[in-house]
């Protein structure tokens, strides 16, 4: 019900945006969606499992380049430009395809390649925990960056790739958001998702009930890589050019902030975090140019936007340390539910009424 209403509202908004927004604003709307997909992916990879990955943007970069190389017209990827490309890819021509079909192929291929890389990278890395996995995944990001810069015969090095057709529309970008939300929530309520949360919560107990830790974490890592890779292809076809600098530490931390701000583990939080982190700098840019409140005049101060944003994060982290949503989801229950009170020691036993065993205790609904 709530989901259907949300979809209708989203469609109305996108139709309105198409009709009346400037192309710059439309691009911002698409960027919100692309960032939301990445943030949802990181919510699964890190939020569900507690395995903090700083390598997510590596998959973003892989996806962007894979998607771009598929749809760039053959004349821009001919051997004299990109001598390292295999012949079939250099000649692969989607210019006569319907743009959305070409984009779909680019996104799926980008997702699959990123997921395949995630299997290889994740097999050793998902055995690590805590700070070690954060540092190791950061190492992966550095490797991706180094490859993008130095494998010039395929990536054009630091100059990056351009002439990427602008296939990404706000509609397609939000379609990916919806698919990502749906997949993440389905995963959350499946046995695999439960296993991810369980091992995050208590590793020893999770192993004790028979959860196999490596495959559980690897699934979350690969899931995140697929959607991040697809989002990378969306980004490439949104801005028309990609360069290694797009897939840097700065981008990594921006996405981490989106997820932590929204609430690590909450899919809705990731979407809200992505929207705030994409739009707030734009709005604050106007503030930077100077403004007037009543009699007080504030002149132009460069860097003011970042300071305001940073103070905002600090305030959120002080007053809502688990982010805006914690690990709960936006919904009817969210509005009426109190936050759970974690009482590890348990309440006073003597006050708990002990209900006697009822033979007629039949569950109405025993499965999710």
């Amino acid at each position: 019900m709530l989901g259907a209403a949300g979809l209708v509202l989203l469609a109305l908004f996108l139709a309105y945006a198409d009709a009346s927004f400037t192309s710059y604003r439309l691009q911002l709307v698409s960027l919100v969606a692309i960032n939301a997909v990445v943030a949802i992916a990181l919510t699964v990879t890190s939020g569900y499992t507690g395995v903090f990955s700083l390598g997510q943007i590596g998959f973003f970069g892989i996806g962007a380049y894979v998607g771009a190389l598929l749809t760039i017209a053959p004349k821009w990827k001919a051997p004299r430009v990109l001598p390292g490309l295999p012949e079939w890819l250099a000649g692969f021509d989607t210019t006569s395809w319907p743009p959305q079909l070409a984009l779909l192929l680019a996104c799926l291929a980008a997702g699959v390649v990123a997921a395949a890389v995630a299997v290889v990278v994740g097999l050793p890395l998902m055995r690590l925990s805590g700070h070690y996995v954060a540092v190791a995944t950061l190492g992966f990001l550095i490797i991706v960056n180094a490859v993008l810069i130095n494998w010039a015969s395929v990536t054009r090095g630091a100059r990056g790739l351009n002439q990427i057709p602008s296939h990404t529309t706000t509609w397609v970008a939000f379609a990916w958001v919806i698919v990502a939300i749906y997949a993440a929530l389905r995963l959350r309520s499946s046995p695999y998702g439960r296993a991810m949360l369980a091992q995050r919560e208590n590793l020893l107990a999770a192993r004790g009930i028979g959860i196999s830790i490596l495959p559980t974490r690897l699934l979350a890592f690969v899931f995140g890589a697929f959607f991040t890779g697809a989002a990378g292809a969306l980004l490439a076809h949104q801005i028309g050019a990609v360069a290694p600098t797009l897939f840097s530490f700065t981008t990594t931390f921006t996405v981490v902030i989106m997820v932590v701000l929204g609430g690590l583990g909450s899919v809705s939080g990731a979407v809200v975090g992505a929207a705030i982190m994409t739009l707030a700098p734009e709005f604050l840019r106007e503030v930077e140019g100077g403004f007037t409140i009543g009699a007080i005049q504030v002149g132009a101060h460069h860097g003011l936007a970042q300071i305001i944003l940073a103070v905002g994060f600090i305030l959120v982290m002080i007053f809502r340390p688990t982010g805006l949503f914690g690990d709960r989801e936006l919904g009817v229950a969210f509005l009426s539910r109190r936050p759970p009170n974690f009482d590890a020691q348990g309440a006073d036993e003597s006050l708990t009424p002990i209900v006697d065993a009822g033979v007629d205790a039949v569950p109405e609904d025993t499965r999710n």
């Binding site: 949360l197 590890a344 348990g346």
Partner: protein, 251 residues
């Protein structure tokens, strides 16, 4: 008939400390065996080693003709050995239902979990009322019930219970032991680790007394309960005094 579980000369290091120094014990089918002893005797380490959470330095743990020391924890659960761990270790932010479903992790996709949930509710009706609640919001006694219910969801052939009465009020301790007796009557094979020796010896068929990593005494539960040494060390007020001490250490 060969025993369901047999430990032979098992040594376990816990960090640099040798927590278990060559113990041997047996649990036969449909038997309730208690492992009692003071805090730090190595009881929990022994159970966790059986479950594959710790690796023994030497020794064999044979369950159904297979050496568990060669298997991973998840495979051991898959063979039907489930544990309700010390300190309950429930998943606090997950719902009671999710905690229970997680107990059935190794049961495969087509397992009939409905009937098993019903069985858990019959043992612990309060869990049914709390299904949608986060596990962390339950009282200590309810969390203990949840931990045992979660272990039951694995449909174990051998149930390992680690300190089920630890930190609970006397009324709740009685309730938990009633359930243990009922599980035994239903034919579940149980290895029970307890500091509350008096209660444990009341329900058990046989018992082993552990002291600083060794088996000090073993035998029929009634005989042990009447043994003057056991009475002096573990029953004569020790059960009452020892329990809050451990609770206080962890608070």
């Amino acid at each position: 008939m060969s025993p369901t579980l047999a430990l032979h000369d098992v040594h376990v290091l816990y960090g640099a400390i040798q927590a278990v120094k060559g113990i041997s014990l047996e649990v036969r089918e449909r038997e309730l065996v208690a492992l009692i002893g003071a805090n730090g005797a190595g009881k929990t380490t022994t159970l966790r080693t059986i479950s594959g959470l710790f690796r023994p330095r030497t020794g064999t743990i044979v369950y159904d003709d297979r050496d568990l020391t060669k298997l991973d924890a998840h495979d051991i659960v898959g063979l039907g050995v489930a544990q309700s761990p010390e300190g309950r270790q429930i998943f606090g932010s997950l719902s009671v239902r999710e905690n229970l479903m997680l107990g059935a992790t190794r049961r495969g996709r087509n397992a009939d979990l409905g009937a098993d949930l019903e069985r858990v509710f019959a043992l612990f009706p309060v869990l049914k009322e709390r299904l949608g609640q986060a596990g962390g919001t339950l009282s200590g006694g309810e969390q203990q019930m949840l931990a045992m219910g979660r272990a039951m969801m694995a449909k174990p052939r051998l149930l390992l219970l680690d300190e089920p009465s630890l930190g609970l009020a006397p009324l709740m301790v009685g309730r938990i032991f009633e359930v243990i007796a009922r599980l035994k009557a239903e034919g579940v094979t149980i290895l029970l680790v307890e500091q509350n020796a008096r209660k444990a010896l009341e329900v058990a068929d046989r018992a082993y007394v552990m002291e600083t990593g060794h088996i000090a005494l073993s035998g029929d539960a009634r005989t042990l309960a009447a043994n003057p040494d056991v009475e002096k060390a573990y029953l004569g007020g020790a059960a009452a005094a020892g329990q809050p001490a451990k609770g206080a250490a962890r608070a």
